[in-house]
């Protein structure tokens, strides 16, 4: 229990320690890691990746999975650029349309999962294929970008700009992530609706018997996921400024799932914290940075990340099992007298 209390868990702390250790090692080997420019760029990546990782976390917490994140980012990205560059639609309106598009995609996924009872993996795998194809067809596989002279100073400043805070150029994507994470934290860990997300993810049947409209809760998780993915699609489009629809955003759903799992989400649903997901995103980006800075061939990028995640999850599992053994030996009376230990211990 108390998984959804949202206070800093042991797990989050160990993740933070891991980030600091990896960061310290990188900084020791290559001090350029600590250059303001490098930190600011890494932070910018964290900002953009963090938003769609939180999006993914919502779906994972209700016990689903969203595999179309990368394709949605590509499709909505090319649509956004097309709307403001080629169709001269006011960027505010275009932004609203793109968010609406993300929400629509989320609604479709959620409805297929709940009303048609298709497995989330299948629904969103089809989405992954469909949206990627649509993006490539729409642009005729050409790169979508801003032509010469096309300029949106306000939009550019808002999405890809940086503000100097005490000498540190703070990317606005980080500001966006902080706002999104703040609201997501409030919703998930403090609101009535957040309680429903966890309840449905843990045991949909019991949630239904308690009067929770579980279909609605599940659909809204996909809707939130779609909307937030759309937001990060705009940020990513404005950051890269040119989108080749065949590769833009590919594998991003896996970054998102990895960040969510690192952050304590269980793919069985009902577990995970926003702080954890943000920390998970940071760790992934620091690792990415590590590969670049330590002169590791960039072809090994994914291999390094995969290895670190695997080691992290193994270590966590080991710790959980050790903790599990300790209290179970203390017997029933001990378990009754104190609140259950955090995390997965209670799953037995």
């Amino acid at each position: 229990m108390l998984e959804n209390e949202g206070t800093v868990h042991k797990k989050d702390l160990s993740l933070l320690v891991l980030i600091l250790v990896v960061g310290a090692v990188v900084a020791f080997i290559n001090p350029r890691f600590l250059l303001v420019g490098n930190l600011s760029n890494t932070a910018n990546q964290v900002g953009m990746f963090g938003i769609f990782s939180i999006a993914e976390a919502f779906v994972i917490i209700v016990g689903g999975i969203e595999l179309a994140v990368g394709s949605v980012i590509a499709l909505l990205g090319v649509l956004f650029i097309d709307l403001i560059v080629n169709r001269d639609i006011d960027w505010i309106l275009a932004f609203a349309l793109i968010i609406a598009g993300g929400v629509a995609i989320g609604t479709i996924h959620g409805t297929l999962v709940t009303k048609m009872k298709i497995q989330p993996f299948v629904v969103t795998l089809c989405g992954l294929l469909i949206y990627r194809g649509a993006a490539r067809y729409y642009t005729e596989d050409a790169t979508a970008g801003f032509g010469y002279g096309a300029s949106f100073p306000m939009l550019e400043w808002l999405t890809a700009g940086r503000t100097n805070v005490l000498g540190f150029p703070l990317p606005h994507s980080v500001v966006a992530l902080v706002i999104v994470a703040g609201i997501a934290w409030l919703v998930l860990h403090r609101s009535v609706y957040g309680r429903y997300f966890y309840a449905v993810g843990k045991n949909e049947e019991a949630a239904r018997y308690s009067g929770i409209r579980s279909d609605r809760v599940t659909i809204s998780a996909y809707v939130i996921c779609g909307g937030l993915t759309a937001l990060s699609a705009v940020l990513l489009a404005m950051y890269t400024r040119s989108i080749s629809p065949a590769v833009h955003g590919s594998f991003y759903e896996l970054y998102a799932i990895a960040a969510a799992v690192l952050g304590g989400c269980s793919l069985r649903g009902g577990e995970g914290s926003i702080i954890g997901v943000v920390l998970g995103t940071i760790l992934l980006q620091v690792l990415q940075n590590l590969v670049n800075l330590l002169g590791i061939p960039s072809s090994l990028n994914f291999a390094v990340m995969g290895t670190v995640i695997l080691i992290g999850v193994l270590a966590d599992q080991y710790l959980v099992q050790r903790r599990q053994r300790a209290p179970s030996a203390r017997g029933q009376a001990a378990a009754e007298s104190k609140p259950a230990t955090l995390e997965r211990v209670s799953a037995e």
Binding site: M1, E3, R195, E205, G331, A334, E336, K338, P339, S346
Partner: protein, 500 residues
């Protein structure tokens, strides 16, 4: 009496801070049927785990065939012929009967390919099925078998391992009357073959029927042992709870009032050709008896909006209502305490407070945010009212005993305003003390003006608690009984579809 082949002498098991077993002794002779009784938490499961080699005792001696064992593991237990039939059956839905019986020990041919020799497999299982007189084949898919038949598969598995002692943990808790009867015959058959049976149960009439003796545990100690001629429900209950259970039925404070819920010609998907009508009255406990599978649970689920009603309707306080989801039912004051406590009634990982507030979070929130203080306060109130035994309402529900878990389910609904409360098997798997508390609460609720429908397969409960009984048979109501007509005979007659 033959010499015991298995002896547990003076067994103690302590966990840090808890004494689970204290000076408990048990000996098993070939062909003996021993009932193991005790309230939940009395140490029955720990004792059985010691017997199965799962848990090593802190002190005491285990002797098998007269030889004291210094170490005793699960493998030793299996070698000694001890087999478990678990309460939650450990079987594979996607295999057939023979595949389940010989899982992990399949006869093979084809050398390194290790292909399964299906013919031998079936040939080995067939005589065991015949020995129990079971009505399925070795190649019947397990998915097609009822719970009772699956239990027989587990027993067959035990026999295939040359079990000398079969341990059954609440084998009858989800069986119908006739299935229970069959199981009793199977136990008698095992006994005749010299196989010993230890069974844990809460149903005393079964003990009366088939046990050679009963061992009663209380708080980890031997509360007493009763030989065949000393067995009586009163004696067993006295040993289990250390006091006499007072007579079950408490009459209502006032005669039943007006109709609260009218079920009119309700048709559920399990029995599309049968319609059910019944009336729940203010202050009355209506018992709904019948065999498992007679459509009682389906009726409850339809009233609560979990499943749709195919036809017919509901009237709440005279006005027709439509209930499409549990939410609508809850908003109208119709609540269900489901049969499957762990699967449907509770979120085991969440705390008591979080479970209690779940259906009514709107009342424990401000601006959409959960007010944990109000939530805990409410849970504390319910904890005192229902005597939920825990010090902290932030304890996760999964750590509580069955009785306390059931009280948490009840607490969910009592913190709102129930008009109609439906209980589906309210005391299944709950010890005697907690049972009595639940019955008291039922009566108090009825006296407060709630209309109560109590589905129960426990005859003692139906007759002892209800003010009126409706009996279902194959999807229809086969009859109503008023208190003066209450008898085990009458309920049974109606349950099997005869008139009285």
């Amino acid at each position: 009496m033959r010499e015991p082949f298995l002896e547990l002498i003076d067994i103690g098991k302590t966990y840090p801070g808890v004494v689970a077993l204290d000076h408990v002794s048990l000996s098993v002779a070939p062909g003996e049927v021993i009932a193991l009784l005790g309230e939940n938490g009395a140490g029955k499961s720990t004792l059985m785990r010691v017997l199965g080699g799962v848990v090593a005792p802190s002190r005491g001696t285990i002797r098998i065939d007269g030889v004291a064992r210094s170490s005793y593991t699960v493998t030793d237990a299996i070698a000694a012929g001890i087999a478990f039939v678990h309460q939650e059956l450990n079987l594979f839905d996607n295999l057939d009967v023979a595949g389940n019986v010989y899982i992990g020990r399949e006869p093979v041919f084809g050398g390194p390919l290790r292909l399964i020799d299906r013919k031998t497999l079936r040939a080995k299982v067939r005589p065991l099925i015949a020995r129990l007189g079971a009505d399925f084949e070795p190649d019947t898919p397990l998915a097609e078998l009822s719970l009772a038949q699956r239990q027989l598969v587990e027993i067959i598995k035990a026999l295939s391992l040359d079990a000398r002692c079969v341990i059954m943990d609440e084998p009858t808790s989800s069986l119908t009357l006739s299935e229970t009867e069959r199981l009793m015959q199977v136990i008698a058959g095992l006994k005749a073959d010299g196989v010993s049976v230890i069974f844990i149960t809460h149903r005393l009439n079964e003990v009366m029927q088939c046990a050679d003796r009963a061992i009663v545990l209380r708080d980890g100690r031997m509360a007493g042992a009763l030989a065949r001629d000393e067995l009586s429900p009163a004696a067993m209950i006295r040993l289990m709870i250390g006091r006499d259970l007072r007579s079950l039925y408490v009459p209502p404070a006032a005669p039943p009032g007006e109709a609260v819920l009218d079920v009119v010609d309700a048709v559920t998907s399990t029995y599309p050709n049968q319609a059910v009508s019944l009336q729940l009255r203010r202050g009355e406990i209506l018992g709904l008896a019948g065999l498992v599978g007679s459509g009682r649970t389906e009726l409850a689920r339809a009233i609560f909006g979990v499943d749709p009603l195919l036809a017919g309707g509901l009237h709440l306080e005279g006005a027709p209502i439509r209930i499409a989801t549990p939410r609508t039912a809850i908003d109208r004051g119709i609540y269900l305490v489901p049969e499957d406590r762990k699967g449907c009634g509770l979120l085991l990982d969440l705390s008591i407070a979080e479970n209690v507030s779940l259906p009514d979070l709107a009342s424990h929130s401000r601006f959409g945010l959960v007010d944990t203080a109000s939530e805990a306060e409410n849970a504390d109130r319910q904890r005192e009212r229902l005597n939920i035994r825990t010090t902290d309402v932030r304890t996760s529900v999964g750590t509580l005993s069955g009785g306390n878990q059931q009280k948490v389910v009840l607490a969910k609904w009592l913190s709102m305003r129930p008009k109609v409360l439906i209980f589906d098997e309210p005391t299944r798997g709950i010890d005697v003390g907690a049972k009595q508390e639940i019955y008291d609460m039922l009566r108090r609720l009825a006296d407060d003006g709630v209309a109560i429908l109590m589905i129960s397969s426990d005859m003692e409960e139906v007759i002892g608690v209800s003010d009126r009984i409706a009996v279902m048979h194959e999807g229809r109501i086969s009859g109503f009984l008023s208190r003066s007509e209450f008898s085990e005979h009458n309920v049974l007659q109606l349950a099997v579809g005869h008139a009285i």
